[in-house]
């Protein structure tokens, strides 16, 4: 364990600062001067900021729907959980069949008499972002959904029924009873999802190639395409630093709230 985690981390840090003549920050300079770097950072952040709220609202809605026990609930659960086991590369390819120029979405539009749109073209930033967003939401909402369902199962229905007896309508019951009780699950899901979201790259790579760079995809490009492990390490270090700060930040937030008197 230590060998596989500790050693690579240390040598990764060394490599990021390493150069032909001792320690330098040249790799970082090269990294930031790369035209793709800042756009990849921007894309990654934008994706996370837009995606996480959508995922949480959707997952919560899905979990509540399942809890209402509609007819065929177990079949719904099965289908809604499938993307959980689909990798981001596969998810990108799946949605490629929909969004590609001669794909299913344009086929649908054409049969409705609307002109096809080139969704994934590099000059069409909004639709490219939309495609990546939809693919990621499709793939990763299941994780939040399953965690929330698990959390809901541990909440006794009595609380809500009691609130109902005292005249709370369903919106109030959700907002004042269920959600606060669900907070631990939501927080875990939030940490896990945010950190995993930083690592998204294959979705975008499969959908748009190099047109929509994400930070981890950049690492891949520097390592395999440009054959520069030093800059790749520098990028990896950025990803690690951001993930760590996020994790620690969330955990701090979590601790403070759970220790505060209710």
């Amino acid at each position: 364990m230590t060998l596989l985690f500790g050693w690579p981390m240390v040598s990764g840090i060394l490599q990021a600062f390493g150069g032909p003549e001792g320690l330098t920050t040249a790799n970082f300079t090269r990294m930031t001067q790369d035209p793709y770097f800042w756009s990849s950072v921007g894309n990654t952040l934008l994706l996370i900021v837009v995606m996480i709220p959508i995922q949480f609202v959707l997952a919560l809605a899905m979990a509540l729907l399942i809890r209402a026990k509609p007819r065929g609930a177990s079949a719904y659960f099965y289908i809604w959980a499938i993307p959980l086991a689909v990798s981001d590369l596969a998810a990108g390819l799946v949605w490629l069949t929909v969004f590609t120029d001669r794909g299913y979405l344009n086929s649908l539009l054409a049969s409705l008499g609307i002109d096809p749109v080139s969704w994934l073209a590099y000059d069409n930033y909004a639709s490219m972002f939309g495609a990546v967003l939809i693919a990621e939401v499709w793939r990763a909402t299941s994780l939040v959904f399953v965690i929330v369902v698990a959390g809901l199962q541990s909440i006794p229905k009595d609380y809500e029924e009691a609130a109902g007896v005292f005249g709370a309508n369903s919106w109030n019951r959700l907002w004042h009873v269920t959600l606060p009780l669900l907070r631990p699950s939501l927080q875990t899901a939030l940490i896990l999802r945010t950190i995993l979201a930083f690592q998204t790259f294959a979705v975008a790579l499969a959908l748009t190639g190099q047109n929509f760079p994400l930070v981890v995809g950049e690492t891949y490009r520097w390592y395999t395409g440009l054959q520069d492990p030093n800059v790749a390490s520098a990028l990896a270090l950025v990803v690690m630093a951001v993930s760590m700060v996020t994790a620690v930040g969330y955990l701090k937030l979590l601790r403070d709230q759970s220790e505060a008197p209710r």
């Binding site: 985690f5 390819l93 299913y104 492990p229 990803v239």
Partner: protein
């Protein structure tokens, strides 16, 4: 019709009676319908893309050239799939993927099972930080590990081998394996184990003959999870290998220059294990992810 006449008849028989308020009933019926509608909409969103990629992978090359594409499977063909499977590196990648998955599974069980048992039974002091640590390593970016590991493996001659990927995947899978097996072992009551001890089993025998059989379903769940994780992981595998690529790594590295049909077939082949996995695991899913919370 008969309903209306009987209610009219009873109303007439009992004289003037307050109108029955049917609004709550109607509202409930409307809510059920809305609920069903919402479920169907979400199901469409989740299932339609999978149907479409299956359709694309099962269509012939000519029908994929057509525009607009047909949404109904009109000419089923294995041509696309066959071309994909016959292209360079795919069959090898498939074999490598299965190998990596199985070895990862075995390795992470050999280490993870005793560790999970230890977490469940003994290590109560410092358990919470330990579990947090596990959660953290689960979230540790793969890319942080793979780039330096590639250098290490290059030096030791492990680079571009199945073993290299197995080591990386085991490191990634271990935290989850430990968490799941720990929660499984927690589910086996201590009394059973103690009873076995009283009847003359050694601790090891008690574990092997009593605890392990009870824990098998949960352990199976953990193993399938490990396999799927390894099957899906692409970045580390593509950085650590060159010729011994796993299937996802192979698909990823040839993404830019491959025709659309190739990508569709690849995507479909990558999705299939997910369908099977979730089908077998759906009862354990909430337990599995629920256990990472507590």
């Amino acid at each position: 019709m008969s309903h209306a006449t009987t209610s009219k008849a009873t109303a007439a028989a009992a004289g003037p009676q307050p109108e029955v308020d049917r609004r709550p009933l109607a509202r409930q019926r409307r809510n059920r319908a809305l609920l069903q509608l919402a479920c169907i909409l979400i199901t469409l969103f989740m299932a339609l893309p999978i149907y479409l990629i299956a359709l694309a992978a099962m269509s012939s090359r000519q029908s994929l050239q057509k525009f607009p594409l047909s949404f109904i499977p009109d000419n089923f063909s294995t041509e696309t799939m066959q071309t994909f499977l016959q292209s360079t590196g795919i069959l090898g990648g498939l074999i490598n993927s299965v190998q990596v998955g199985l070895f990862t599974l075995v390795l992470s069980l050999i280490i993870g099972l005793p560790a999970g048992y230890a977490v469940a039974r003994f290590a109560f002091r410092g358990r919470e930080p330990y579990q947090l640590f596990l959660l953290f390593t689960r979230a540790l970016p793969i890319v942080v590990l793979s780039v330096p590991l590639a250098q290490l493996f290059l030096q030791t001659g492990l680079y571009d081998s199945v073993l290299a990927v197995v080591l990386l995947h085991s490191a990634l899978a271990l935290p989850t394996t430990i968490l799941i097996t720990a929660s499984v072992f927690l589910g086996v009551p201590r009394d059973v184990e103690e009873a076995a001890r009283i009847f003359g089993c050694s601790p090891l025998q008690a574990f092997l003959k009593v605890v392990l059989p009870m824990a098998i379903p949960g352990i199976a769940a953990a193993s399938i999870f490990t396999f799927v994780m390894s099957w899906n992981e692409v970045l580390g595998a593509s950085i650590l290998t060159l010729n011994q690529r796993t299937l996802p790594a192979q698909v990823l590295s040839s993404l830019a220059e491959s025709p659309l049909a190739y990508r569709f077939a690849g995507g479909f082949l990558l999705v299939v294990p997910a369908l099977i996995f979730i089908f077998f695991m759906r009862r354990y899913l909430t337990n599995m992810w629920g256990s990472t919370i507590r």
